[in-house]
Amino acid sequence: METKKKKPRYDFILILILAVAGLGILAFAFLTGGGGASVEVSVDGRIIAVYPLSDNREEVINTPEGKNRLEIKDGRVRVTDADCPDKLCVNQGWISMKGQSVICLPHKLTVKITGEEAPESKGADIVVK
């Protein structure tokens, strides 16, 4: 049974829909993004620390599963080192826009940029300038 019969192919439409939807999501991410003001660090969904993005600093985050080293510099943040097996969080590089995040799945750690100025101290290691 050869399937050589001429059937109309709508591949193009499907791919177009997918591409447009993808661009839509990207646009949405951009629009809801914008400049961030602080870095929110959470482990397993609980916020453990908030740092202002304007501070240049390095922090070591201890999670039950391991350590991640954060670097905040020039309004951007990245994970510089981690003892997780895959180092995916390190590979994600710098983030600076509101809503962006670096996620370390093995440690259940998320580093997220929020638009709010560093609010009331939620972590023990907030440093007052």
């Binding site: 049974m1 059937k7 109309p8 192919r9 709508y10 591949d11 499907l14 791919i15 997918l18 591409a19 939807a21 993808g22 999501i25 990207l26 949405f28 991410a29 809801t32 993004g33 959470s42 969904g45 895959d86 180092k87 995916l88 969080c89 590979n91 994600q92 590089g93 826009m97 809503g99 962006q100 995040s101 996620i103 799945l105 259940k108 998320t110 997220k112 940029i113």
Partner: protein, 185 residues
């Protein structure tokens, strides 16, 4: 009487053939999962994968049946998670794998899409499923960045996997999978 016995015999053969080919594909999928895990994470985005196991799923979908494809994928995810991953990896993989297989089954039923197009949608929806699970588990709202990046990487890897699998589907003899004993159709 004799006739009946013959029929039973054939049915039994079909059954054995079906079990064997399913088992073979599950084994193949597990090997590919392992292989994929060996590829160093050179991608900047976590969760971005080539999805080479999807070759097996797509092949099963077109050469066997929809339930076979779904069953093989679920079985493979559970086994692989027990062997190399963990419970959290299993949740991500299951939600991604089941969603993408479901979408591929539906798109195949529409009949107007090529294997490659079906695989592209599968790639995208695999990532959607994973990001959705991550959004629930990690409770983070930076998820749209993640999703938009993975959306396009899913399309790219889906294309590659789709081209590969459509060649496989074209070239592998039906008799390898056919539940009818022997005989290519």
């Amino acid at each position: 009487m004799k006739d009946n016995k013959g029929k039973n015999n054939i049915r039994q053969k079909q059954y054995i053939r079906s079990v064997t080919s399913h088992g073979m594909l599950v084994a193949m999928a597990i090997v590919l999962s392992w292989l994929e895990a060996q590829i160093p994470a050179f991608f900047a985005v976590p969760g971005m994968k080539l999805g080479i196991t999807n070759i097996v799923v797509v092949t099963a979908l077109y050469k066997m049946s929809s339930p076979s494809a779904m069953g093989i994928n679920i079985l493979r995810i559970i086994l692989v998670s027990f062997m190399f991953g963990g419970p959290s990896a299993m949740i991500y993989s299951l939600s991604g794998g089941m969603l993408s297989t479901l979408i591929m089954i539906l798109l195949k039923k529409i009949r107007h899409f090529s294997i490659t197009a079906v695989s592209i949608a599968g790639g995208v929806f695999h990532n959607i499923g994973q990001v959705a699970a991550a959004a629930v588990i990690l409770n983070t709202d930076g998820i749209f960045w993640y999703l938009s990046v993975l959306w396009f990487t899913g399309m790219v890897t889906g294309t590659l996997i789709g081209i590969l699998s459509s060649q496989l589907v074209k070239r592998l003899p039906d008799s390898l999978f056919s539940l009818r004993s022997g005989g290519t159709k």
